[in-house]
Symmetry: C2
Amino acid sequence: MDAFESRTRRCQDRLPEVGADAAILFPSTNLFYASGFREEPMERHLFLVVPSEGDPVFVAPEMYDEQIRDASWVSDLRLWADGEDPMALVADLADELDLREGHLLADDTMWALFTQDLRETLPEASFGLASEVFDDLRLRKDDAELDALRRAGALADEVSVEIRSLGADAIGLTEADLADEIDRLLAERGGEGVSFETVVGSGPNGAKPHHRRSDREIEPGDPVVLDFGAYVNGYPGDQTRTVVFAGDPPEEYQAVHETVQSAQQAAVEAVEPGVPAEEIDRAAREVIEAAGYGDRFVHRTGHGVGLDVHEAPYIVAGNEVELESGMVFSVEPGVYLPGKFGVRIEDLVIVTEDGCERLNDSPRTWEALGE
Amino acid sequence: MDAFESRTRRCQDRLPEVGADAAILFPSTNLFYASGFREEPMERHLFLVVPSEGDPVFVAPEMYDEQIRDASWVSDLRLWADGEDPMALVADLADELDLREGHLLADDTMWALFTQDLRETLPEASFGLASEVFDDLRLRKDDAELDALRRAGALADEVSVEIRSLGADAIGLTEADLADEIDRLLAERGGEGVSFETVVGSGPNGAKPHHRRSDREIEPGDPVVLDFGAYVNGYPGDQTRTVVFAGDPPEEYQAVHETVQSAQQAAVEAVEPGVPAEEIDRAAREVIEAAGYGDRFVHRTGHGVGLDVHEAPYIVAGNEVELESGMVFSVEPGVYLPGKFGVRIEDLVIVTEDGCERLNDSPRTWEALGE
């Protein structure tokens, strides 16, 4: 059986367990995970209806006919042409599959535009979220997935080392220049596109946790947050190091870096099966609080990584999900001093039978790397 | 008044007209249009609540504090930290603004994850879509927007001419190679990132209207669909030409190309204020039907272009919206012969007082261009 089909069958088995009659997917990683067909979200109606029994059905724009047949094992396609009403096809399908009064799980990233249409077309139905069945399946990666994630980790490491060896040559480059160079190296070394817009946050820009890049020139002594990764076989890398390319770092920097590095180490050491996700967050937070920077660690410690760069399990206070072998997530504590600098250190880890495997091993120190 | 603020005020004026008490935006082009703050959709709760009266309010992750203040005129931020419950802030805000039983317009691209949360937190509220107020505002572009769109059009033209001058040098390149070269030129000439994944569809791949690129090598005589563009000042270019770089095209190709070119010309000539959008579609379709390819023109004739590459007005049968000066959309008929080749020709146009202005003027012929 096709790998995508067997995932769909497992999803179908789970639907009754959560009291659902069908999942309705739209272009997303869930859709790819189940069908093998990959597309970006768009304003045209494209659904995969996965009932608890029988075969799934695509409702799709006519122009996707050939592409879906090429990419997916799903063979039942109901096609609509521009100018026709796609919701009429959905209504017919709901009758056929007896879903009009059913409990339907909408894809978590489905646009309001489409959930609104589904609610209007099927006013007697009730709605939940597809994550109720998909998260559990996608949480534990299979060997092929782990292999791709390992390769994406190694690629990020390789580029990190190469960039850090720029040393003083990085001074005077803009953040955007350096980000372009990272992107170029990721592509050259086999990346299939960046996992997210590469982050280069120098000096005070590093204190904005979700800063991307700017035209600010890197100066001697600037701490620079480098957060990037690229896809390999459909799975993303995601790694962060904070580096001073040349010159003397600002006061307080070394103490902050050491704190974040210890916090990251403590969190990684806390990872093993059976531990609740929030404990990993706590392990990092305790170190940072003890050093007096608790209020400057303004985000969770990590996020799951798989087909989506951000997915379950979230490593955050309140998440009591117990870690299991095969889960993959980031461990990325940070400390941000507004107007001064930020420090973040991030590796991805796989939960193993008795601890974890790090997917990133490039030096977690803050100095540039020698040739 | 800040340009973003004045757009928000116009949006607020319109809310009562559609019977709504507030719009609730999430990271989207609507959010940028109203606030000046730009972010990608993500799994963290980030909303801009725009009530019909008073000032709008952000509910956002704490770590976005500085970024939002830097980017936006909106000064009322309610921040939540990872581990806290963002919906509690939304509930408080709903009390404060008296929205619990209101009619709320959710951003059209808001994820089901968040609309579900809003429905659960505000069970007495009813929901519509933000497009009910935003589409009308965004439909007519102001001068700054038109200027950016003209520049994005000129950039696409420039790169199109340069690529077509490759002539026989393009033979043997893979589609992916050629797409990379297009992307490189777009960036080098000032593009701020591609409008969408650049499409290079050679030979039979051109017959899949939404094919992107593959490792197929371009052969002599292959018709190649080239569909691309890049952003300039936040606004995208989008242009398509179908080219034979060298060699003799397949039988039927010249007739198909001539048909599509005539259809595109007829559609562009039909553009003027007061004409329903569907008439532009009909003008193109009539030419293609008369040539006997009606059933191979499997998509609408065009889509509006603004902050989103695809937005209103859609140029499609059934859309009776009357064109107005300042609207911008694509005119892109195509004919697709499965297993053989496809032909699509696309320009963007601005509706003017008495007709339209094309934003793309590179040759619409199918031959390579000389030096």
